[in-house]
Amino acid sequence: MSQNKFRLLFTLVIFTGIIGSCLTPFNFVYAAINTNINATVRITICGNNIKETGEDCDGTDLAGKNCLDFGFTGGTLQCLPSCDFDTSNCTTGGGGGGGGGVPSLSPTAVRLSGKAYPLSKVSVLKDGQLAITTIAGPDANFNVSIEGLSAGNYMFAVYGEDDAGRRSSLFTFPIYITPGVTTNISGIFLPPTIDVDKTQVKKGDNINIFGKSTPDSDISIVVQSDQEYSGKIKSDANGIYLYKFDTTPLDFGDHYTKSKAALNGDLTSYSKVVSFAVGTKTVLKTSKITCPKADLNGDCRVNLVDFSVAAYWYKRPLSASFKSLETERLNGDGKVDLVDFSIMAYYWTG
C-alpha cells in the first residue's frame, strides 16, 4: 500500500473514532457520577456447616474448639443458629467430653450489618417494599435480621436517614437466599447524606456543603461543573461534616455536588446529588425537606403506591390533572413510559 493510502486510512480511522465517540457519549465523567463501589460487602452463610469469616462456628463446624477453651471442665459445646458458640451445655465439674456439637436448624433468614450514621434510622427494602427498620448505634453500626423468608432471589436495598430527615441514596444488591440457612451480608457502608445551605450563591461567595456520615471518616466532596472540583474534610465525632466551597472558579449557571466517605480502607458509593446555581445574588435554602421527585401521591415517599399510579397511566392518554403532575414530578413529556419509571426507580424510598 502506498504512503498516501496509509495516511488516508489513518485519517479515516481517527475521524470515525471521533464521530463515534461523540455519538456514544464519553462516559468517563458519567463513571465518576455513577460509580457504585461495593468493595466492602461480604456474604457469608450461617447454617452451611462451614465456619466463615465473621462467624464463631457453623453447625457442626466448631473451629476445633470445645468447652475446655471457654474455661469449663466438660460438657458439650454447641453452635447456635446465629453461628455464635453455645456453652449452655458445658459443665464445670466431673465428666469428660468436649466438642462435637449437635447441628442446629437455622431459619431461612438474612442478616444485614454495616455502618450508617450515629443513632440514625436505617430502612431495609425487600424487592422494593419496606421490610424492616432499625436504629444504628452511637458508633453508627447497625445489625438487623429478616426471618421467615422462602428460598430464592431477592433484591435488598438499604438506606439511612439522619436526624434532619435527609435520606441517603439506596444501597442495593441482589442476593440468593439459601433455604434453612442465615445469609449474612456484612460490611455495608451507607453513603453520606448531603445538602447545601443556598439554592443560589453569589459568584465568589462560599456555599456550605454538609451532611452526615460515620464518625471520623474522610469525606470527599465533588462539585461538578464543566470541570470537576474536589475537596476533603473529616466528619466529627457525631458524623457531621461541613465543607465551605469557594464558588469563585465556577461559571454562572447550574452546578451540582455529591460526597462519599472512606474509613479504614472501606469506601462508600457516592451520595445523592444536590444542585445549586451560581448567580449575581445569594438565595438561602429553606430548612424544609423537599419531597422527592416521582412522589405522585404527596406522601413524601416514592413506593408501590406511586408505581401503581404511574402504571395506571402507562401507555394511556393522560388526563389534564395528571398531565400537570407528570410535568412536575416526572419527565414532563406528556406521557408515562419507561423513562418515567426509570426516574421513579432512581428516587425510590420504599
Binding site: 500500500m1 504512503q3 496509509f6 486510512l9 489513518f10 480511522v13 481517527i14 470515525t16 473514532g17 463515534g20 465517540s21 456514544t24 464519553f26 458519567y30 463513571a31 457520577i33 455513577n34 461495593n38 461480604r42 456474604i43 457469608t44 424487592d127 422494593g128 417494599q129 422462602s150 428460598a151 430464592g152 432471589n153 431477592y154 433484591m155 436495598a157 439506596l170 442495593t172 444488591f173 441482589p174 442476593i175 440468593y176 439459601t178 445469609t183 408501590l304 403506591v305 408505581f307 401503581s308 399510579v309 402504571a311 395506571y312 402507562y314 395528571f322 419527565n331 419507561l338 423513562v339 419509571f341 426509570s342 426516574i343 421513579m344 426507580a345 432512581y346 428516587y347 425510590w348 420504599g350
Partner: protein, 322 residues
C-alpha cells in the same frame, strides 16, 4: 514531487491506525449491559416443553434501573405457553404479554434503587429477568432462533432515564427429528409440582387517582411466580358475619373501586402458577353512615319496644292500684 527527507514507515502508520482504532472501540464500549438467553439443554424434540431464562449482565460500574424486552421466537415451530416472573430482579409494570400470532413476548419493569450486577460471593445467579416457557410444535427446521428485538432497552439509574449501551445474545435451539410421544413431567411442570409455598405476604392499599379510588397490591412468589390476583368484596350482616357482595374476580393492580367499596371488607387473593393461594383482608376504610348502620337501627327499635312495654306495664300498675 520529490520525496521529503523524513518519511514515516508504512508499518508505523499501520500500527498507529490499529492502536488508535482499538482505543476508540474500547472507549465506546467501556460501559455496557448485555441481555442474554439460557436454556438447560441445547436440543429439544417436538412436543417437549422447556424454559428459557432471560438474563441481564451489567458491566461495572454501569448502574441500570429499568428494562423493556421484546423477544421474538419462530411462531410456527415454538408455542409460548407461559411466562414466569419467579425470582426476577424486576418489579413488573404490567403482566408480561405473549403474542403467539406474531411470535413476540414483551415485558418491562424496574429495579428500585438500581442494579450494578451480581455481588461477589452471591451463592445464586441473581440476574434473572424472567422465564419464557416454550413447547416445540413441530420440526420444520433444524433450529429455532429466539432473539431480542432492537427496540429492547435498558435505562441507566441516573434520574434521567438515559439509555444504556446494550448488546444482545440470542439463543438457537436445535430441534431433533425424533418426536416425543410420551412426555414425562417436563422441567416447568416439575417446578410447579414442587412449589408448595404460597405467595409472600403483602399489604393492599387504597389510592385516589383522578378522583377515583383504586386498590393497589403486589406480592412475590419465588418458586413458580405469581399467576393472577382475584378480588372480592364483603359486607357485615346484622349478626356480624361477613357475606360476599361479589365473588372472587380476576383483577390487576391498580384495581378500580366504587366509593361504596370503601365501606366494605375487601379480600385480595394472590395465586401462583402452582395454584397456591395467599388471601389478605383489608378492613373497611370508611365507617358506615349512621343511618345505614343496621345494628344501630336494631338497637333503636329494641329500645323503643322495651320503652313501650315498660310504659304499658306502668299504666297497668296504675290502673290496678286505683
Amino acid at each position: 514531487m520529490p520525496n521529503s527527507k523524513f518519511q514515516i514507515p508504512n508499518s508505523i502508520i499501520l500500527f498507529l491506525t490499529i492502536a488508535i482504532g482499538s482505543l476508540f472501540v474500547v472507549i465506546a464500549g467501556v460501559h455496557a449491559a448485555e441481555l442474554y438467553l439460557e436454556s438447560s439443554q441445547p436440543e429439544y424434540a417436538p412436543n417437549e416443553t422447556f424454559s428459557v431464562d432471560i438474563r441481564l449482565n451489567v458491566i461495572p460500574p454501569e448502574d441500570i434501573n429499568a428494562v423493556e424486552v421484546y423477544l421474538s421466537f419462530p411462531k410456527d415451530i415454538l408455542e409460548a405457553v407461559d411466562f414466569s416472573t419467579a425470582n426476577s430482579i424486576l418489579t413488573f409494570i404490567k403482566n408480561p404479554v405473549i403474542n403467539q400470532q406474531n411470535g413476540l413476548i414483551n415485558f418491562s419493569g424496574i429495579v428500585p434503587g438500581g442494579y450494578t450486577g451480581r455481588l461477589i460471593g452471591d451463592p445464586g445467579k441473581s440476574n434473572l429477568l424472567g422465564k419464557a416457557i416454550f413447547k416445540v410444535e413441530k420440526q420444520e427446521k433444524e433450529t429455532a432462533l429466539i432473539n431480542f428485538l432492537a427496540n429492547s432497552q435498558v435505562l441507566l439509574n441516573d434520574g434521567k432515564g438515559t439509555k444504556a449501551n446494550l448488546t444482545f445474545v440470542p439463543l438457537e435451539i436445535q430441534i431433533s427429528k425424533q418426536e416425543v410421544v410420551f412426555n414425562p413431567l417436563n422441567e416447568w411442570e416439575k417446578a410447579k409440582e414442587e412449589d408448595k409455598i404460597p405467595p409472600e405476604e403483602f399489604k393492599p392499599e387504597i389510592v385516589k387517582i383522578d378522583d377515583k379510588y383504586f386498590l393497589v397490591f403486589n406480592s412475590q412468589d419465588k418458586q413458580s411466580g405469581i399467576d393472577r390476583y382475584e378480588i372480592q368484596t364483603l359486607k357485615e350482616t346484622l349478626l356480624g358475619q361477613l357475606v360476599p357482595v361479589t365473588n372472587f374476580e380476576k383483577g390487576e393492580s391498580p384495581y378500580p373501586l366504587d366509593e361504596s367499596d370503601l365501606t366494605k371488607t375487601i379480600k385480595v387473593k394472590a395465586i401462583d402458577k402452582a395454584g397456591n393461594k395467599r388471601i389478605v383482608t383489608l378492613n373497611p376504610q370508611v365507617p358506615i353512615k349512621w343511618y345505614k348502620n343496621y345494628w344501630l337501627w336494631g338497637i333503636i327499635i329494641i329500645l323503643v319496644i322495651l320503652g313501650l312495654i315498660i310504659w304499658r306495664l306502668f299504666k297497668l300498675k296504675q290502673r290496678f292500684q286505683k
